[in-house]
């Protein structure tokens, strides 16, 4: 846990340092008053100070009891596989949506996700996949006037 917090705070420190550098490239003040870089520059600088202080206090914290050390930051085991399935399928659906559109991308996404999460009845999977893609598309585009991607291959 402590190691994870140190890494995360370190990443935030880098983020704030990067923001200091980027905002310093913008004008901090001009003849009208504060420029576009003013607020982010000082804010990022405060962030750097806070991140350093948090790094220091986390580093000085006494070692956690054994039970706390068992808290894993990254997913693992069967739960980890479910976690990975959701993330990878979401990423694949987002990538595919531009090409094949919402309906096909979500059809495959829904079927693959419920299978990955343990469903085995094919007719339930098929029903859910079609309803959650073509059905949802129809409801949102026709009834709720929400535009959803149609995909390049169809246009």
């Amino acid at each position: 846990m402590r190691q994870g917090r140190l890494i995360a705070t370190g990443a935030m420190l880098v983020f704030c340092l990067f923001a200091v550098w980027q905002s310093s490239l913008l004008s901090l003040t001009d003849r009208l008053g504060p420029g576009p870089g003013f607020f982010p520059f000082w804010l990022a600088l405060i962030g750097v100070v806070l991140a350093l202080a948090l790094l220091f206090t986390t580093y000085r914290e006494p070692a956690a009891p054994a039970a706390d050390d068992e808290v894993r930051i990254l997913p693992y085991g069967v739960g980890g596989m479910r976690w990975l399935a959701i993330v990878l399928l979401m990423a694949a659906a987002a990538a595919a949506m531009e090409v094949v559109g919402f309906r096909l991308a979500m059809l495959v996404f829904n079927a693959a996700l419920v299978i990955a999460l343990g469903e085995r009845r094919w007719w339930v999977i098929a029903l859910f996949a079609v309803g959650g893609s073509f059905g949802v598309y129809y409801v949102f585009t026709h009834w709720l006037d929400v535009l959803l991607p149609d995909g390049r291959i169809w246009s």
């Binding site: 846990m1 948090l54 930051i73 979401m90 419920v114 959650g132 959803l148």
Partner: protein
Amino acid sequence: MDALHHLLAGFAAALSVKYLLFALVGCVLGTLIGVLPGLGPAAGTAILIPLTFSLDATGAIIMLSAIYYGAMYGGTITSVLINVPGEAASVVTCIDGHQMARQGRAGSALGIAAIGSFVGGTLATVALVVVAMPLASLALKFGPAEFFALMVAGLCLVVGLAGNNMMAALLMTVIGLLLALVGVDPVRGAPRFTFGVEELYDGIGFIPVVMGLFGVAELLLAAEKRQTHMVEAELKSWMPTAAECKQSVGAIGRGTVVGFVLGLIPGVGAIVPTFMAYVLEKRVSKTPERFGKGAIEGVASAETANNAYANAAMVPLLALGIPSSPTIAVLMGAFIINGITPGPFLFQEQPALVWTVIASFFVGNVLLLILNLPLVGLWAKLLKIPFSYMCAGVLIFCVIGAYGLKQSLFDVWVMLGFGILGYLLRKLDFPIAPAILALILGPMMEKSLRTTLEISGGSFAIFLDRPVALTLLAVPVIVVGFLLFKPRSLAPLREGDSE
């Protein structure tokens, strides 16, 4: 009298078939979200935003508000029946609610929760009517310096309640503010932190970020956990006895006051009022030993405070434009999506909208009472929905919500990225609520500060000349500074991130 006149006009609109339907759909969906363990009101409100894209502004806000307080009640059902809080604020209800269920009194617990929620929510809305307009009139005298100070005070209060995690909360606030500044500078028009990416010129979308940090992150956390065996309690009736109602009267009254007062303070979150109302009830009880063993006053106080808080939290949003919790920040996002800026000008510029929305709170509370008492058994059945379908269903809504606002697949990637980030931050015990509030307040804070400094010719001494701004800045900063260096000597009141 003016407020009463506007409120009556608001009722006339809120009771139209169209808005009644929106409130009803919102209450049903909100209760559903609350019933499903793991999905809190913030995630629920965020993922259901796409349903409101085609509605007019009033309808959208009515539906999202109904989803919010519906979710606040829905969490009670799982707390009582299976000892799993559907949302963070229902944790306290588990203590006596589930004990009552084990004694065969689940119906009494759920019934008194519905009645307490109705009374607390309705009385808090009455107080909202009385308080909001004078507060907004007062805030109309504020200049940019006061508004900047007010927003700093709001963020400081959120940070101040992070307990021992305050340094991390401050850092998360800064990160949230920095993310809010991505895009074209609103004053000079210069692009900032965009790196030539066209999609970033509009800034990082608030809705994809919230959907990621709450919706996707909560699903990822739930997916990782192993399934636990749930024992369902038997539901014999849904009404408490007359003796139980009499026993709960005091608890409901005290819960309303605690919930309303704490709802006015930004950053308190829903857990604190429910917990404080419960502790207060135990203190005033002549038989405190019954608490934890199925005392109906324990359920009544917590649930009343919960809904009184939910309605009172609308006061800072409507009157000052300050969101007091992540869910209220999502509602504020919905206002902004519809081209409306919440705050003191709202009562002058959009009186029809604001009073219709307030009237709909009353209507929503009645609808929730009608829905929840007889339909408890039906809600309980929803718990049998397998995780795989719930997960896929929620993700479909997340994709539509992230994409639908700007028709940008980039926002779907933003949502996924923030989902993973939210998962890691929660595992590492970094508070997310301050970052969410900072993300929505960031642009307004910057604009207020820069306008103030333009007026003063770049001098910060302007804050010294304005006593209200100075007080609003100094008090919370001093309090946070004090707490920061004395964290271990004070009992932390930790906010649940889902609310």
